[in-house]
Each structure stands twice: as structure tokens, then as C-alpha cells.
């Protein structure tokens, strides 16, 4: 199991490697935790744009990227070692191109009462000038002590039933590298061969920890 100091060093090196993509950093190591100051646990059950706004307003992020997306990196340890991880990606909300009249139509067409209420709410929100956003957040969670589901998994927003199990416990670099690679691909491929990043990737890989997840869906998905 990788010690907390090494995770912190990895995080620091990650910032330095990708600092051109980052406009605000916000992390420290304190009381066996690597996280942002004023850490609040729990995920707000809000519409995504509000989740994002709350996160910015309360500075619940480790990195703010130049495209305004936010990254959370949280590692927590206790006497027996690594206890919890939360690695989350919150893209800047993108509004969808939709008119209030369209919602009227959907409302008229739906057969579901629940969705009727949903459309009505959307209609009201748009009337108040709130734009509708389709985006959502995605995160890796690790919880050593959880028994009801897999300890290490990928989860998409509030979908509780479909946690995608993961074999490896990853490091900050893996997560940020993955995000930059996919969201800034042009710029990323200008720097990914730099000795700095090559070295970081190699040393991070060396420190991957495996967990027993029974069925390795990740590998299955990756090989499809």
C-alpha cells in the first residue's frame, strides 16, 4: 500500500506537469488526509448545474482547469492505511439547445406522470431564466470498509445501482493525465512525450495497488 507522502508528492508533481491547464489549485495534506481546505463530504442531490455551482462557490475542488471544469482529488488514511479515495471530474455545465416550447411538447407527449412533473419543473426553471444542462459528473470511489458493493469502482453521478468495479487503485497522476488526454487532446499530444510526463507515468504505474473485485469488468470493457 502506497504511503500518504508518496501520494502527495505524486499530486504535486501532477500539478507541475499540467500547470498550463490549471488556473486554480487548492490542496493540502493534513490529519491523514489529502484534500482541499474546507472539505465537505456528501454529494448534493441537485440538478447538475447547481452541483457544479455549489462546488465552485464552496471551493470544493483540487484543480480548476482552464475550460472551467473541476477536479476533486481526495485520499484519506488511518492507522491501518488507505481508507478512502474520491477522484471526481465535474465538467463545466453545457447548456443544451432547447426552447421552452419544446418542453411544452414533451410534456404533452409523455405517458409517464413522473416525467410530466419533471417537464413541468424544467418549464418553470427555464421561465426563471435558468438554462438546462445535460452534463453530469463522473468519479472513481474507493472505500476499504464498504461491504454492500465493490470497494473500488467508477460511478456516474447519482446512478447508485451501476458501479463499474475497478481492479487498480490509481494515483492522482493517472486521473488527471486521463482527463487532460481526453479533454485537451491536441495540446496533450504536444507534451506527452516529455521526459517529465513519461517518468511520472512510469513511477505512478509502479505504485498501482490491486484490489480483489471478483469479476474484472474494466479489463473486459477495455478488451471489447
Amino acid at each position: 500500500m502506497i504511503p500518504i507522502n508518496n501520494v502527495f508528492e505524486n499530486l504535486d508533481a501532477t500539478y507541475k506537469a499540467f500547470k498550463d491547464f490549471i488556473i486554480d489549485r487548492n490542496y493540502s495534506e493534513q490529519n491523514n488526509e489529502i484534500c482541499w481546505p474546507s472539505y465537505k463530504s456528501g454529494i448534493s442531490k441537485q440538478v447538475y448545474s447547481k452541483q457544479y455551482e455549489d462546488l465552485i462557490a464552496n471551493r470544493q475542488f483540487t484543480f480548476l482547469l482552464t475550460d472551467r471544469s473541476a477536479v476533486q482529488i481526495y485520499y484519506s488514511y488511518d492507522n491501518t492505511g488507505l481508507k478512502k479515495i474520491r477522484l471526481a471530474y465535474y465538467p463545466a455545465p453545457k447548456t443544451i439547445n432547447i426552447e421552452r416550447e419544446d418542453i411544452d411538447t414533451y410534456y404533452g407527449e409523455t405517458f409517464s406522470e413522473a416525467l410530466e412533473a419533471h417537464y413541468m419543473l424544467l418549464h418553470d426553471l427555464m421561465g426563471q431564466g435558468i438554462s438546462v444542462s445535460n452534463t453530469t459528473h463522473v468519479r472513481f470511489d474507493y472505500d476499504r470498509d464498504v461491504t454492500s458493493h465493490n470497494t473500488n469502482h467508477l460511478q456516474i453521478d447519482g446512478i447508485q445501482e451501476l458501479r463499474i468495479p475497478f481492479k487498480h487503485i490509481i494515483l492522482p497522476f493517472h486521473f488527471v493525465d486521463f482527463i487532460i488526454q481526453n479533454t485537451y487532446s491536441d495540446e496533450y499530444f504536444k507534451i506527452n512525450k516529455s521526459p517529465n510526463i513519461v517518468y511520472l507515468l512510469a513511477s505512478s504505474n509502479k505504485n498501482l495497488t490491486d484490489v480483489d473485485i471478483g469479476h474484472d469488468y474494466y479489463s473486459i470493457f477495455m478488451s471489447m
Binding site: 465552485i56 462557490a57 431564466g129
Partner: protein, 734 residues
């Protein structure tokens, strides 16, 4: 002596009015204040003696006028008196004793006027009862403790008091602020460890460490309840908001049944006004204001907060518009109030406000004022504070005739003449505040100079054309010697030092430092170079000069790609370990001056706020933007500064701007210019008054034409020799 007439025109006896004028003339050659039932030191109504004179270097004299014919004590206790008409009133003898004790209690808070060892006040307090209609034998039956005189001996009594109170240490501005309760507005004191330090942070802390005192102008206008409409004119930072809050609190205290509305346009002012009223009212009455009769409201309303528009709709059973319904209108505020006005007129509502105080009146559309007029009872106590220079396209102040609408016969509801002359106590109905507290003089003059384009190469953008308008914004015209200027006049105007109450400026002068350093200018070849350098400078200020990040504002004049510029600045600052926020781009729009964060703002977001350190970046836009709006933005941005203002810009035309600023600095504290022709001004005003999007659209079309189809442009010009010759003529470059 300054006469503060308070509610003298509102509720007073005939004797009090006459005697007031007489006492005022007795004191006329002395410095200090004479108040009618002012200051109130937390007492109310008849518990306050008629006149309180605070005479600098002499003492305080309390004079109570007993107008009634008193028959004698009402019972054995001497606590009540009975009048000829059979009414029982509290003993005035006791009233002035109680009042004196309250003044003493307040003065004891200040070690400079109170000796704690001996328990002695160093200020002499005198008190006297003046009987107007009570015969001597009946006065004798009252067993008075305090001196009493008849109305004919007031003058000689005052003279002897002044003679005998020569040794009173000092009744001064400090003691006055204690007595009148305005010390509650003093900015939080920060211990100043080293008064000799020249670190910027220490200088700024020292400038914050001062007792708030109303100046004479402010006191005069705030401590009075006018008996009709009143306009208060002044630049930003002249204390308009404090004055309106005081007037509201004071009127509420005077008569808690009066229905008062305090209304404004900027959401963020809600807390400020609430605080000001609460602080003063609570200190004075030891109770909380009753917000059900004293309504503090935003014109429209916001998240969960009552707004004026919504509350009126609700009251009259009308269906209000939501912001979403009207946000595509050219001016949503004008739209909703036009609609409301139309509906109200057909309902013929009973007015229900006794007094309405409007802050930021320059931001409101005309129908808003007419709605206020409809809902205010006679004598239409509508008081509106107007910023003379909030925007360039509103250089000409809107007169009451144009604001409050017409009556059934087509006559103005409030004709302009209603602002002529004075209310009782000699207080102008059209009141001008010329002292500026926020901005240092060089800062204000740089802002005015750039905003008006006084030294613009291609000619002045817009200008005030008469003597009175210049004095309304705190300047003195030296030349020409006439009231209205004409084309070709050589104009020379000065901003006198006395109108500048900025403390930092004074501190620098004490240290024999040049106050011009409060504004500086720097040019760069590229925006990156500029931003890197500004980030460095901010870092230096924080790390070596003791400035805290939240005291710093960075305002960009760039109108395009602002989000990216802020992103870059934030990143550069983050590299240096400085934290910043970008309200309206990343953080929500109402986030401001959070502890530990530098503020990156647009001029629009910065409006209404102030900071000790202001950086104005991309200042070249003030020159390059053809609509002149960026000059206005430059004005707004620079005037946010109550301390140091750093202006910078980049690109090809930055030298033109540098030249203008150099010119302003050279002529400081004066402006010298030749008055432009009426035609020139008219043409530029047309541009100034065009809707923003219209200008942008035209500009885009021209740009497109030049880049894609220059032939069309050339051909069009060939066929329009008039237009062509206008372009070629030098002063017509706009």
C-alpha cells in the same frame, strides 16, 4: 454656526420657530452647530429639549422653550405640570436634566473629554428653560432647579454663557460624533503598529483608522425631514447612501407610524442600507427598526427578497412579470414599470407612503418615478439621490419635470420650480454634495479627464457646458468668467483640495510624498506581457507591502474574450501562490471581496464597489472603442479606487492613451481646454446615446465590409462625396 433644523418645519410651536431664528443669529459668528431637537441622544419626541447648541471651544448649551401657559405642578411630586388648557405635561425641568445626563453618558466614552480619575467632564454643559407665556408667580410655584429666563433675555443669557465657558476643553468633531450617534459608522479600527511605516498596507490601514463624522454639508441634509421633494446630487463617494439611510432612520424614530420606503437598484446594497439604518436607529433608540413600516427594498426584488415591484403588484392584486418573461426587452426595468404604471393609473390607487428615499436615481427609468409619485402621500416627500456622473451618456441631469410625469391637465406633477429655494433652516431643495471621500483627487481627475476625453487628440468627447454643473461635481471654474461656455472659449477649471476628503491623500502629503503617485500608468507591447507584469506586481504588493488580497481589484476594459483573459490572470497569480476569484465567470456574480482572494472583474461587476488597490488593465480599449463606451468604463473602473490605481494597456495605440494621461497629470489639479463646437458635441452625443447593441452591430458590419468587400465600401464612398469629405476633415474622425 450651522443650523440643523431637523423637524422644525414638521412639528414645532410658533414660538420655537421665531426663537430658533433669533438664537441662530446670536450664535452666527461662532463655530459649531445649533440643532432643533437635535442631536436626540436616544431620546424621543418631547423628551428632547427645543434647542441644543454645541459651540466649539466653549461648551454645550441646552435651551428648552416652554410655549404653554403653565398653571403649576400637577401634584406634589413636581414630576408633572398642568397647563392652562388642563393638559398634564412632564416637568421640563426634569426633561432637561435627563437630557443632560444622556449627553454626559455619551461623552464619557471618550478619554479625551472625560477624566476617569476625577470623574470630571472637560466640557461645560449649560441648560436653561425659557418661559414664553407663564407669569412669574406661577413659575415660582414650580420649584425649579435649573435656571429659567423669559424670551427677551435669551440673547444676554447666551452671551454670558459663552463668556463663562471659555475654558471648556473642546466641543469638537469627535465629541459631536459621539453625541449625534454617527460614530457607529466608523470603519472598524485596526491597530496601527508603526505610524512611520511607508509600507502601502500600513498607509492604507492608517487611512481606514478614522472616526466617521458627518461633514457640515452631510449633517445639514441628513438631519432634516423635508416638507416636500428634495434632490441630493453628488458624485460616487460623497456619502449619498449614508445620508439617505440617516434620513430614513431619523424619520422612523421621529414618528414610527410614518410609512417609509427606501429603494435602490443594486442588489448588493440591500445589506449595506439595512446595516446603516439598524446601527443608527438601534444606537439612538435601543430598539430595532420596525421593518413593516420602514421598507428597504430593491426596485425589482431578488432571490427570496421582497422587491418594490413585486410588493406593489401584490398589494393591488396584479400579476407580476418574472425576469425571464422580460429579459429580452431592451430595458426590462423600464418595461415592467411602464406596464405597472399603466395598470396603477386605471386603479387610481390611494397613496400610502409618507416618505420615499431613492438611491441611485440615475439608474431608474422614468415610469419608475411616476409610480413612486402615485404612491406617495402629500406633501410628496420624495428624496432622490442622483450621481452626477455615473455614465457618460447621461451627462445632463434629468429634471423633475421629466421624471414624475404629467397631471390630467398636462402640467408636470413636480415642476422644476419645486426644487428651487430652500426648506426651513436654509437647506437647499436641490442639495449638492461636493466633498468626495472615496477617491483621491488625482484619481478622480484622471477618471474625469479620460472619461470626457478632455485631452483626446481628435477632440473632446463630451463636456459640461456651464459653471453650475462643474461646481456640482466639485470643480471651480477659473476661466472664462461667464456662466455658460461657447465654442472657442479657453476653459480653465480646478478641483480645489478642500473638496477632497480622501485620507490616504492627506497622509501622503503629511509625509511630503507626491499624491500623484496614487495613479500610475504602464504600457506593454502585448497583453501577455501586461498580464504577467500585473500578476508580479500584485504578488509584490501582497508579499512585501502588507496588502491583503481582498483589497485588490483587477478590472479589464477588454470587451471580448474576457473569460480567457481572466483565466490567464488567475493562472499566473496561482503560479505565484496568489488566490483570486472571477465573479460572473467562474464564481457566481454576487461573490465579492472574499477574504484571501484578489477580485478579477469587469467594469460592470465592479460598479458600486470600492477597493484600496485597483488595477485597470487593457486600458487601450478606452481609445480604440469607437462608441466611447469604453471611456465610460474607464471612468467607472478608475473611480473604484480609494487608494492606489494602476492603469496599464498594450498594443499599437497605447501611446495615445499614455499621452492623454501625461497631459492630465501635467495640468493637475486643473483642466485646460478649448471649448468645442456644439455640432461636434452633438454628433458624439448621438453615438453615446445609441443602444449598445446597435453600435456593436454597425461596427461589426463595417469591419466585415472592410475585410471582405472593401470594393463596396470604396464605391459607396466615391458616390457619396459629402460623407467622404466629412471623413477627411480632421475633427470629424468620428
Amino acid at each position: 454656526m450651522q443650523y440643523i433644523s431637523g423637524s422644525l418645519g414638521h412639528n414645532s410651536s410658533a414660538e420655537e420657530k421665531i426663537i430658533g431664528t433669533q438664537i441662530n443669529s446670536d450664535f452666527v459668528s461662532f463655530e459649531g452647530t445649533l440643532g432643533y431637537r437635535m442631536p436626540s441622544v436616544g431620546m424621543q419626541g418631547k423628551d428632547i429639549p427645543s434647542f441644543i447648541a454645541q459651540i466649539y471651544e466653549h461648551g454645550i448649551l441646552i435651551i428648552d422653550i416652554v410655549s404653554e401657559h403653565i398653571l403649576g405642578p400637577a401634584d406634589d411630586s413636581d414630576e408633572y405640570w398642568i397647563t392652562e388648557t388642563g393638559v398634564t405635561i412632564p416637568s421640563r425641568d426634569i426633561v432637561i436634566d435627563n437630557f443632560e445626563r444622556e449627553i454626559q453618558n455619551r461623552l464619557k466614552q471618550d478619554g479625551r473629554v472625560y477624566d476617569r480619575r476625577t470623574g470630571q467632564l472637560k466640557i461645560v454643559i449649560g441648560k436653561v428653560l425659557v418661559f414664553c407665556n407663564t407669569p412669574a408667580d406661577k413659575i415660582a410655584s414650580l420649584n425649579l432647579i435649573n435656571p429659567h429666563i423669559d424670551r427677551n433675555s435669551i440673547t444676554s443669557y447666551i452671551r454670558s454663557f459663552i463668556r463663562n465657558s471659555n475654558n471648556s476643553i473642546y466641543v469638537s468633531k469627535q465629541s459631536q460624533s459621539l453625541i449625534e450617534g454617527t460614530k457607529v459608522f466608523a470603519k472598524a479600527r485596526k491597530a496601527v503598529l508603526n505610524p512611520e511605516s511607508t509600507l502601502l498596507g500600513d498607509l492604507i490601514d492608517r487611512s481606514m483608522d478614522n472616526t466617521f463624522t458627518l461633514d457640515e454639508e452631510q449633517r445639514k441634509v441628513s438631519m432634516q425631514i423635508p416638507s416636500g421633494p428634495q434632490r441630493i446630487r453628488g458624485l460616487a463617494g460623497t456619502g449619498k447612501t449614508v445620508i439617505l439611510a440617516l434620513k430614513a432612520a431619523l424619520t422612523h424614530k421621529e414618528d414610527e407610524k410614518l410609512r417609509i420606503l427606501s429603494v435602490f437598484n443594486t442588489q448588493s446594497m440591500y445589506n449595506q442600507i439595512h446595516d446603516l439604518i439598524t446601527k443608527y436607529y438601534t444606537y439612538e433608540t435601543r430598539s430595532s427598526p420596525d421593518w413593516s413600516v420602514l421598507e428597504v427594498m430593491h426596485a425589482w426584488g431578488g432571490k427570496g427578497r421582497a422587491g418594490f415591484y413585486y410588493s406593489v403588484c401584490k398589494r393591488f392584486g396584479l400579476n407580476p412579470f418574472a425576469y425571464g418573461d422580460v429579459k429580452n426587452q431592451l430595458d426590462p426595468l423600464e418595461f415592467i414599470f411602464t406596464d405597472l404604471l399603466r395598470k396603477l393609473k386605471s386603479l387610481n390607487p390611494d397613496p400610502y407612503y409618507d416618505m420615499v428615499l431613492i438611491d441611485e436615481a440615475q439608474d431608474f427609468p422614468q415610469p419608475f418615478f411616476e409610480v413612486i409619485y402615485l404612491l406617495t402621500k402629500n406633501p410628496k416627500r420624495i428624496i432622490w439621490a442622483y450621481d452626477e456622473f455615473q455614465s457618460l451618456n447621461e451627462l445632463k441631469i434629468k429634471e423633475p419635470r421629466d421624471l414624475f410625469g404629467l397631471d390630467n391637465e398636462g402640467n408636470p406633477n413636480i415642476p422644476n420650480t419645486e426644487l428651487e429655494g430652500t426648506y426651513i433652516g436654509g437647506i437647499e431643495k436641490d442639495f449638492i454634495l461636493s466633498n468626495c471621500y472615496r477617491n483621491p483627487r488625482i484619481t478622480l481627475m484622471t477618471a474625469h479627464g479620460l472619461g470626457l476625453g478632455i485631452y483626446r487628440k481628435e477632440g473632446i468627447v463630451d463636456i459640461l457646458s456651464d459653471n453650475k454643473s462643474w461646481s456640482a461635481i466639485g470643480y471651480r471654474v477659473l476661466k472664462p468668467n461667464k456662466s455658460t461656455f461657447k465654442e472657442g472659449d479657453q476653459v480653465e477649471i480646478e478641483r480645489p483640495e478642500t473638496f477632497s476628503k480622501n485620507i490616504l491623500e492627506k497622509i501622503l502629503k503629511e509625509k511630503a510624498a507626491d499624491d500623484k503617485q496614487l495613479v500610475s500608468f504602464e504600457s506593454y507591447s502585448s497583453w501577455k506581457e501586461e498580464y504577467d507584469s500585473v500578476a508580479q506586481k500584485i504578488h509584490t504588493l501582497i508579499s512585501t507591502q502588507g496588502i491583503s488580497p481582498e483589497q485588490i481589484m483587477v478590472i479589464t476594459l477588454a470587451t471580448l474574450g474576457t473569460g480567457e483573459l481572466f483565466g490567464y490572470m488567475r493562472q499566473q497569480l496561482d503560479f505565484l501562490g496568489v488566490k483570486s476569484i472571477t465573479p460572473g465567470y467562474i464564481e457566481s456574480a454576487d461573490t465579492f471581496q472574499e477574504k484571501g482572494f484578489v477580485n478579477l472583474l469587469t467594469p460592470y461587476r465592479a460598479k458600486g464597489n470600492e477597493a484600496n488597490i485597483v488595477f485597470v488593465t487593457d486600458a487601450q480599449f478606452a481609445i480604440t472603442n469607437t462608441s466611447f463606451r469604453s471611456r465610460n468604463a474607464a471612468f467607472v473602473s478608475i473611480t473604484r479606487s480609494r487608494g492606489y490605481c494602476y492603469i496599464s494597456g498594450n498594443g499599437r495605440r497605447i501611446n495615445e492613451l499614455a499621452e492623454e494621461i501625461r497631459h492630465i497629470s501635467n495640468d493637475y489639479p486643473r483642466f485646460n481646454f478649448k471649448f468645442p463646437s456644439e455640432e461636434e458635441l452633438k454628433r458624439r452625443r448621438v453615438i453615446l446615446n445609441k443602444a449598445e447593441n446597435e453600435i456593436e452591430k454597425s461596427q461589426r458590419q463595417i469591419d466585415e465590409l472592410i475585410s471582405k468587400n472593401p470594393e463596396i465600401l470604396i464605391e459607396t464612398l466615391r458616390q457619396n462625396p459629402d460623407l467622404l469629405s466629412k471623413i477627411i476633415k480632421k475633427d470629424d474622425s468620428n
